[in-house]
Amino acid sequence: MRIAFLIVVLAGAVFYSYIAFIDLNFLTRTGRLGPGFFPRIVGVAMVVFTFWALVDALRERRAAQDDGSAWRDVVTLMALAVGYAVLLRLLGGFPATVVYLGLSLVIVNPGRHLQNAILTAVIPTAIYLLFDRLLNANMPPALLDLPF
């Protein structure tokens, strides 16, 4: 996985450098340093160092010792977070938070139904009061026309 991550970073670095050399000028028409000056230095350095780190990682390659259950838990949490992002767009701040927290607690804190039910009600309410009423901050609006 480490090698895969480094390959993704390297691909990003190559793409960044490509744009820096193709789209952005090194000098302006008046001969001053242009918008491509800094990105070209950063891009080339990023490609060199990522490639170097990748070579090191390939040399040190060892059998994967990842704990399957650790990955399962973290991927579940990531999936729930991404699901929350989608729900926020569709349902808006408060309803999406209630749905997300209810579902998340059932999955990551199983068997404690009463505790989960209380937390699902209390936390979104407290956060809504803090952000919307006390701090007068923006809460995500719903894309769908909800009856509440």
Binding site: I19, F38, A81, A85, A137
Partner: protein, 507 residues
Amino acid sequence: MDIFGDLMMGLSLAISPINMLYLLAGAMVGMVVGVIPGFGPSAGLAILLPVTFGMDPVPAIMMLAAIYYGAMYGGTITSILLNTPGESATVASTFDGFPLAKNGRAGPALVMQAAASFVGGTVGVVLITILAPMFAQVSRSFGPPEYFLLAVMGMLTLIVMIGQHWKLGVVSALIGFALGTVGVDLETGQGRYTFGSAELIGGIYFIPIAIGLFGLGELFYAFYQGLHKTGTGGIVQYDKEERFWPTRHDWISTRMTMARHSILGFIVGVIPGAGATIASLMAYSTERSISKNKANFGKGEMAGLVAPETANNAASSGAMIPLLTLGIPGSASTAVLLAAFLMWGLRPGPLFMEQNPELAWGLIASMYLGNMALLAISIFAIPLFVQMIKVPYRVLGPTIIVICTLGTFSVHASFVETYLMFGAGIVGFFMRLYGFSPAALVLALVLGPLAEEALRQTLTISRGSFGIFVERSASLWIIAVTIGLLVLLPLLGRFGKKAEEAEKAGT
């Protein structure tokens, strides 16, 4: 106006009821952040920064600063009672803190850590009061070449401290620099890496990246480590002990330890990249080597707890010097604080204290009051924090995701920034897992645009010649200090590592 007069003016501002309220709230929240394992001041600051948007700059900055140094106090409670450091700067506090608790001296250990933190923090603020105006005076002669070199120094020292994975640290910093180039080029007006998106014209905003990397990234990593599965069964029951308060011998035997490590911690804190973790490990190692009771270290020696605690709090004060007087953050936490200053249109630097005396001196004065408040909170609110330690990670996790998400959205009401925060969270997890440095990325994201602007201005002044960096005496001094730090810092890092290894080996 003299320093004392400025300080009194700051104190009169800080002591107003509303500012005191925010200061106390910040100190309390900072302690809570410190208590949660895996979450340090940078995560706490990033997550809670959006909460301060509706406030005036003065109470908001005071509150954020209180969160920053309050986290140092809170992190030790879990080190002593649970043998789990709340953050990296309190790792050294587990070495003797937990054995003290196991020996039935948890109460005295908790009180002494609060006192040591107070002494370290207060000496640190006294030194800020004296030294910050002097630093500002010196840095007034700085121009673009010096600012570019300072940014380079900040990045290099941080990368050097990463040690074994320094190449990944460089890559992390370069990713931060690359993200910092997104948006319209201020000199030519040309769009860079915007791909036609109106949301990216203004550049990639710092807050979603910092919240994603430090908030979500750390949370995912904590789940990966299985923190959500561990209970709090190992927590030491301090309330059943015979004696809660330290003995006279505890105070007398550690008074010089506090004095020594307040100064040492402050000096290490001023150095960009070194920070509170190195300061605390160095303090432990130094104290152990000069102590008459060497054999007791690791078995419950009070000086072994007091030394790192004094040093990490003094270091967090020391780190405010380069931030306030040069506008250059030396760590991820101070980078988030810098972002907060910039958000309110304030630009820390040589003229900051002169142009914003109320804010600068109000902040410094609030740190005196904050340390006093934290001393009281960290002794008398221990039962409250013990209850917080008992909240399981599996409940905290989803709640933190909600706060990060709504906090990010509340800044600009932008879904793009919210999605960016989730992306940064996932990337931050992989960075943490594979030895990259999220702190270097965030620091580079803040310093990148400043460094680019300074470099372009420098080369315009010199008509493209890099010789300008060795023609100015101020630049030469910065280069010399940078070279000195690059040689010295790996030695300091090794010093800290030795302390950890010796502790693990039980020698």
